[in-house]
């Protein structure tokens, strides 16, 4: 019965792949400020359909060369991204940054293997430890889009808090709320804040490697002090105001309070994952899905506090 089902499915799928167009992310650079572009990802989870393109990446064209911020989920993405950049500027790519060690932000590195790739030191060691496993898991999640993709480590680690490139002065700010090592880049000339996955907007945040909700929340307060003109979240729409940061604070507060109350009441994990999500966050995509994941990541720690 199951074999039959698998065969029928297999036949359907194989018919489809024969007629399918070659895979393409169809990346469109969107200008967000002077000399600054982003490639906008979908507000979805990894799937065979989106090929892992759920992430915002970007680049800045300076007088002395181009700065690339994150390389996307696959070699194919990295190549398409590089081609799209070269259509906009003929300046050479000088710097590539991986903001943190999650697969959708670094698996395009192979497309930039002739250029120095930078990350925070801890990100590099996290990639050395988990990079291959992330790549393997992405093959499972999105399939053929990943073809020939391998985890390639950054070649250099960041040992400075700023970078002067022509008239652009980039502040390189290390945070840790999302993964323990998160790079935020602020272009003082244009006022663009590349917030990486420290900020999710209208898409539920993910917590597999957060050192803690409270720490993350404290760091969001620090980001609020930056006088930016445009905020580029790692996932979700860009914004010219503080709304993404307010949403982050509110959501992190709600998560923390909900998990504390649940642990105090002695709830089991299966009871916690069914708790209602505040109406305030009704517009946030994937909130139930990510809440279930967050409970798996963080609830044991909360339980521990209330034994």
């Amino acid at each position: 019965m199951n074999i039959k089902k698998a065969l029928v499915l297999g036949m359907l799928l194989s018919c489809q792949s024969v007629t399918a167009a070659p895979l393409s992310y169809d990346l469109q650079a969107k200008k967000v400020a002077d000399n600054t572009w982003i490639f906008k990802g979908k507000l979805e989870d990894f799937s065979n359909k989106n090929g892992g393109n759920i992430v915002n990446t970007g680049f800045i064209e300076t007088e002395v060369g181009v700065v690339v911020i994150d390389t996307g989920p696959s070699l194919r993405y990295g190549k398409e991204m590089r081609k799209a950049i070269e259509q906009i500027t003929d300046k050479p790519i000088k710097y590539v940054f991986n903001t943190h060690h999650h697969p959708d932000h670094f698996l395009g590195n192979q497309a930039f293997s002739d250029i120095d790739i930078y990350s925070l030191p801890k990100t590099k060691s996290q990639l050395a430890q988990h990079g291959n496993a992330f790549a393997e898991n992405m093959y499972r999640l999105v399939g053929d889009w990943m073809r020939s993709t391998e985890a390639q480590l950054p070649t250099k680690t960041i040992d400075t808090t700023g970078l002067k490139l022509g008239s652009h002065h980039l502040k390189l700010m290390p945070f840790s709320g999302h993964t323990g090592s998160d790079l935020v880049i602020f272009d003082e000339k244009t006022g663009v804040l590349f917030a990486s996955d420290m900020v999710f907007y209208q898409r539920a945040l993910t917590t597999p490697h957060t050192p803690g909700i409270q720490l993350w929340r404290d760091e969001i307060s620090k980001l609020k002090a930056i006088n930016y003109k445009v905020l580029i979240p790692g996932h979700g729409p860009i914004s010219a105001n503080k709304a993404p940061l307010d949403q982050m604070s509110a959501y992190l507060n709600w998560l923390d309070n909900t998990l504390i109350a649940a642990a105090k009441a002695g709830l089991s994990m299966n009871e916690v994952i069914k708790l209602p999500i505040s109406d305030e966050f009704a517009g946030i995509k994937l909130s139930r899905y990510e809440f279930v994941r967050t409970v798996a990541h963080l609830y044991p720690g909360y339980e521990e506090r209330f034994f």
Partner: protein, 250 residues
């Protein structure tokens, strides 16, 4: 496209249900074998009143929360057997609840791949009531070395328990955690080492709940039981396959 698949699936399902008396609602390829192992030739029914609660997917295949709830059959229960069809070691636990305890238990398990998770409740009329749900998983939970294997913390804390009583609307809940590697024996050069027996006892020494655990129960087990009479004091007793016994007042 989606509707096409649905129609085709439906059409393959029809002959199966017409040709055999009872169809496994979870369509697991190992159902027949599991039935032989755990139920044998006894009478059984698939029964929604036996609730198996779990997330739809295993975010961490070494720590999947499951809740088995047979409250609807309270008073008639002889024992409850839980298993995962596609685990290399299928049996999770056998549970003998006393009528004074709510026949509902929560703990976390390891899964090796996506699988049906089952609970079969044997009632006093000698009929098995089988409930279950499908869990999606990337897998590898049973053949991943325990965290303890890389960290000697457990060696000096083996069997240490933390527990707390939570008053509920009716009665109360005990949740306890015990430090134990719960090694499956399926990882190269790490022998099986796991808690085999759990008992929740009242002051009078009566077993309110008795459980036999198997290797798929997660490392450092966290187990939740609900009792009807919150006034009475209880203790928990454990024994592992190395013969170590641990006991603590709850």
């Amino acid at each position: 496209m989606k509707t096409t698949i649905a129609i085709l699936l439906l059409s393959t399902a029809i002959p199966a249900s017409a040709s055999s008396e009872v169809v496994d609602p979870l369509e697991s390829p190992l159902w027949e074998y599991m039935r032989e192992q755990f139920i044998g030739d006894d009478k059984f029914v698939f029964d929604d009143r036996v609730k198996v609660e779990l997330p739809e997917f295993a975010e961490d295949p070494t720590q999947v929360p499951i809740t088995i709830d047979a409250e609807a059959l309270n008073g008639q229960i002889q024992r409850i057997v839980a298993w995962a069809d596609l685990n290399p070691i299928q049996h999770i636990f056998t549970y003998y609840p006393h009528p004074d305890i709510v026949p509902r238990v929560s703990l976390r398990i390891k899964v090796q791949q996506g699988t049906a998770i089952r609970a079969a409740v044997l009632t006093k009329d000698n009929i098995w009531h089988v409930g279950g749900r499908y869990l999606d998983a990337a897998g590898g939970g049973c053949t991943t070395p325990s965290v303890a294997n890389a960290n000697p913390y457990w060696e000096s804390h083996l069997g240490e328990m933390k527990s707390r009583f939570f008053p509920r609307q009716e009665g109360g809940r005990y949740k306890f955690k015990v430090i134990h590697p719960m090694d499956t024996g399926l990882v190269d050069a790490i022998p099986e080492f796991y808690i085999q027996q759990v008992a929740v006892r009242s002051r009078s020494g009566q077993d309110l709940a008795k459980m036999d655990l198997s290797q798929p129960v997660s490392e450092n087990p966290v187990i939740t039981f609900d009792v009807r009479n919150s006034g009475e004091k209880h203790s928990v007793w454990l024994r592992d396959n190395g013969g170590n016994e641990f006991e603590q007042e709850l």
